[in-house]
């Protein structure tokens, strides 16, 4: 992924794709559809394959609940990552740390200081929002490269987490919170899945069905055009950073409630999978554009693959290979098919 704001990497594939859509209708409709639903098709193939391989376990309610529930924290974080990325501020790296900070503030206040759990949650989200404001100050106000600034803030926040926690895991947070996030279920799925779904619906609606979302798209595609069209570019970018930090804070609360104890390295393991899901999602639904629905599909596609391989006996750390490979393959496939169609047309 590129750090330069003007050149969003995954966008290119779709642009080229739709370019051919203009020249040749019948085959391009087919191909656009193929690309749009490629992940869903592979998703379905995976489900069927795992279902055949391990019918008793993979196709169980328990497994579905596990897949949907276990990925809720990542899913919420993905919604956070989506916001600055869609506006061309590629990679807010600090969002993982914001998640960790929020979780750790909650845990320290609740466990070590006995603060009321609701207050502790608010404090955690507040701490994450502060990180977002710092990012806005340095990225938007001073017009710095977001990659470099958030690399810095990520490191700083990680250091603060170590200081606050004394480099220890902190737990166990109030079971009351855990009940309302993780333990209680609706339709056999932990409640946190529905929280994530609610956040998704809001993000999806705003990005896809309001002028604000359309403007975000313009900002992400061409910031100078947006500026000269009278769009409040800096204001929208600022909101993206702040809201993203807030959502990452919520993801931190969900993390703490799910795990009970908070590890100082909590967020750093999640941030790269979150980016993988966002960029993988950009190849689906609206190919070439980072979009919320695509990200939703990508998260659960990756989660399903991981869960399936685990049931087949693979160690959980194989999921990293699956994540990385899925991302690389997904952005490469459209180019491969284009080459092949090009050759076939030539031969005909």
């Amino acid at each position: 992924m590129s750090a330069s704001p003007g050149a969003p990497a995954p966008v290119e594939t779709g642009g080229r794709h739709e370019r051919s859509a203009e020249r040749d209708r019948p085959s391009s409709v087919w191909r656009l559809g193929l690309q749009r639903y490629a992940i869903l098709i592979v998703f379905a193939i995976l489900v069927v394959a795992f279902g055949i391989a391990t019918p008793s376990t993979f196709l169980s309610i328990g497994n579905l609940s596990n897949i949907l529930g276990s990925q809720a924290v990542l899913f919420i974080l993905v919604m956070a990552v989506l916001l600055p990325t869609i506006m061309g501020d590629f990679v807010d790296l600090s969002l993982g740390s914001s998640l960790g900070l929020s979780a750790m503030v909650l845990a320290v206040l609740n466990v070590q200081h006995g603060t009321n759990v609701a207050l502790a949650c608010l404090a955690g989200i507040g701490a994450a929002l502060v990180v977002g404001l710092v990012n806005v100050f340095f990225v938007v106000y001073f017009d710095n490269d977001p990659f470099i600034v958030t690399l810095g803030t990520m490191t700083i926040v990680q250091g603060i987490i170590y200081i606050v926690s004394g480099n220890n895991s902190v737990g166990i947070v109030s079971t009351n919170l855990s009940n309302w996030v993780f333990t209680n279920e609706f339709l056999s799925i932990p409640l946190e899945f529905y929280y994530g779904l609610a956040i998704f619906l809001v993000v999806w609606y705003v990005l896809s069905f309001t002028p604000v979302g359309q403007k975000a798209l313009v900002i992400g595609q061409s910031r100078e055009v947006a500026r000269l069209t009278g769009i409040r570019v800096d204001r929208q970018r600022s909101w993206a950073f702040i809201l993203a930090a807030g959502i990452a804070g919520i993801a931190g609360i969900a993390y703490a409630a799910t795990n009970g104890t908070v590890d100082p390295t909590a967020g750093s393991a999640l941030i790269l999978p979150a980016f993988a899901a966002v960029f993988l999602g950009a190849t689906a639904v609206k190919p070439g554009r980072i979009n919320a629905l695509g990200a939703l599909i990508a998260v659960y596609f990756l989660a399903t693959g991981t869960a399936g391989f685990e049931l087949l006996g693979a160690q959980s750390y194989y999921q990293q290979i699956f994540y990385g490979a899925a991302l690389v393959v997904a952005i490469t496939i459209p180019k491969v098919t284009r080459e092949r169609i090009f050759k076939r047309r030539r031969a005909a």
Partner: protein, 547 residues
């Protein structure tokens, strides 16, 4: 070689014979002969589109001339076209207006790295910065240029950047002469003075004289006739691709030179208008050929007046545009005309000035694009790809960008209405192919430009600011764009500001043209006075008078 012996004792440094160049049906150069003797400074002048840059591009190997053209360097024929990079191997060196310096690198790096890249030193040989430093200091010393070698080039004054670029080019030539043993070499300077203040031009000339004393010949291309007359030995005038005069620089008056450049057809009427300060009263009525029949007179609250605008090169500039009028702004590069649309839109910061738009008055220094859009101003920038359209979005998304808020009601974004709106615009603005969902980058330049115009015009602007609106646009689309802008002016009473260096275009579409020089209005032309030649004459004359 023998046949030119009677002409001169030594062969000319460069000689071009029978050079022609066609672009489609348009003949840009027609049988041009040009000789530059050793140690000679030759000025090349001509209006925009006269073929100057085409000639330079043939010399630098960018264009291939039509068959029959020949090039002699130091008396030996070199086959045309030149391969890219070949020019430097036969003793030709170029300094363009943009200077081609890397602003982030130091003076030393700019001076030495180019030479390493273009050869001479093995690319894997380690760099000894101490000795590079000494050699660079010696080079600067040779041309009597004092610069801090460790300073970032971008921090230098413009004149020092120009001098650095010239030193670098001259040093390339000197090395070429030493290496090859030839006497000839030619430094081509393309508009080197446009961004320089008057008093600094002289410092540049000192350097050019030093370069000539070292043994190079110079081809000096400029609009600045004062500069051309003071530095060159001989002036070559190009008009419509032909050489119309070759005269010793000391023997021709500037007025005569202007006449040669624009042709004898240039009427003295243009100069009469130039003497008047600002004949506003003549021009307040919309005088366009189309506007005359159904213009209901200036609509209330739609006149535009710019007062005392100062910013960058613009000094205390005031002018008015009536509702429905197309005002052209002409000026040579460096006149400040090209900044005007961006300043009025708030895209570039201004120091001071007022903009009266209908009944309201805005402070130009406090303008932002957001405010300008709210005031229903529109900017069509020259850089369509970077500033005008989001190329990776679809056509409809670009076209409706300004009006999408109006189609979000009760929490529902009426995308269908927007697509319908865009579809109608595609129809009305004759965008081909009419694929509203096509990615913008896939459309041709002319169709993109129509889309850009559509984007702004469907928002119903009160003031339309155009900068080079037909740049990179084919002839058909160019006609269409003229038509769309004229009808917007006539039917919607939009005030239009049209800035371009294509003076023929201004003469064709504008009701009135103001000519800027050194940031001031120096001439106003209307009605029958409007012609390509008259505008050029006014622009050239003013450089002479302000110097």
């Amino acid at each position: 070689m023998e046949e030119q012996a009677p002409q001169a004792s030594a062969p000319p440094a460069v000689e071009l014979r029978a050079i022609s160049k066609d672009f489609g049906s348009n003949r840009a150069l027609d049988n041009v002969d040009l000789r530059i003797g050793n140690g000679e400074v030759v000025g090349l002048v001509g209006q925009n589109g006269s073929g100057k840059s085409t000639l330079v591009k043939i010399l630098s190997g960018v264009y291939a001339p039509e068959p029959g053209g020949r090039l002699f360097v130091g008396g030996e024929e070199v086959p045309l076209p030149l391969a890219p990079g070949q020019a430097s191997e036969i003793g030709l060196s170029f300094v363009y207006q943009n200077l081609a310096l890397a602003p982030g690198l130091t003076v030393l790096e700019n001076l030495t790295l180019g030479q390493r890249i273009t050869g001479g030193v093995r690319s894997w040989a380690p760099i000894n910065w101490m000795s590079e430093h000494r050699r660079a200091a010696a080079v600067l010393g040779r041309y009597q240029v004092k610069l801090d070698l460790d300073q970032r080039t971008g921090e230098l004054a413009p004149v020092d950047q120009a001098r650095l670029a010239i030193v670098r080019a001259a040093e390339d030539l000197r090395r070429y002469r030493t290496r090859s043993g030839y006497k000839h070499s030619v430094l081509v300077l393309d508009e080197p003075t446009v961004f320089l203040p008057e008093e600094e031009v002289e410092r540049l000339f000192d350097l050019i004289r030093t370069v000539v004393a070292e043994g190079a010949a110079v081809l000096f291309i400029s609009h600045d006739l004062v500069a051309v007359r003071s530095i060159t030995d001989r002036v070559v005038v190009l008009r419509d691709g032909r050489i119309v005069a070759e005269v010793p620089a000391g023997e021709i008056e500037e007025q005569a030179l202007v006449d040669l450049i624009v042709g004898t057809a240039a009427r003295p009427g243009g100069s009469a208008a130039a003497e008047e300060a600002r004949p506003v009263e003549v021009t307040l009525a919309p005088a366009g050929p189309d506007g005359a029949e159904d213009a209901p007179g200036p609509g209330p609250g739609q006149n535009v007046a710019v007062g005392n605008l100062s910013a960058g090169r613009l000094k205390d500039l005031s002018f008015e545009i009536s509702a429905g009028e197309i005002l052209g702004v002409a000026g040579l590069i460096g006149s400040g005309a090209e900044d005007l649309p961006y300043l009025l839109f708030g895209a570039h910061p201004a120091i001071s000035g007022t903009l009266r738009l209908g009944s309201g008055t805005l402070d130009i220094a406090g303008l932002t694009p957001q405010r300008s859009v709210r005031q229903r101003m529109a900017l069509v920038p020259a850089d369509r790809q970077l500033l005008g359209l989001a190329e990776r979005l679809t056509l409809w998304e670009n076209i409706v960008m300004l009006v999408e808020d109006e189609h979000y009601r009760g929490g529902v974004f009426h995308r269908g209405e927007l697509v319908q709106l865009a579809r109608e615009a595609v129809e009305r603005f004759e965008i081909r192919p009419p694929q509203t969902h096509g990615v913008t980058a896939t459309f041709s330049g002319g169709n993109q430009q129509k889309a850009l115009l559509a984007k702004w015009l469907i928002a119903g602007p009160r003031l339309l600011l155009l900068h080079e609106p037909t740049q990179g646009v084919d002839v058909g689309a160019r006609r269409d764009i003229y038509r769309f802008v004229k009808s917007a002016a006539t039917l919607n009473q939009t005030a239009v500001l049209w800035v371009t260096t294509d003076f023929g275009e201004l003469a064709e579409v504008c009701d009135r043209v103001i000519v800027l020089s050194e940031g001031r209005t120096v001439a106003t032309l209307t009605g029958d006075e409007l012609s390509d030649d008259a505008i050029t004459a006014a622009a050239l004359r003013q450089i002479r008078e302000t110097r």
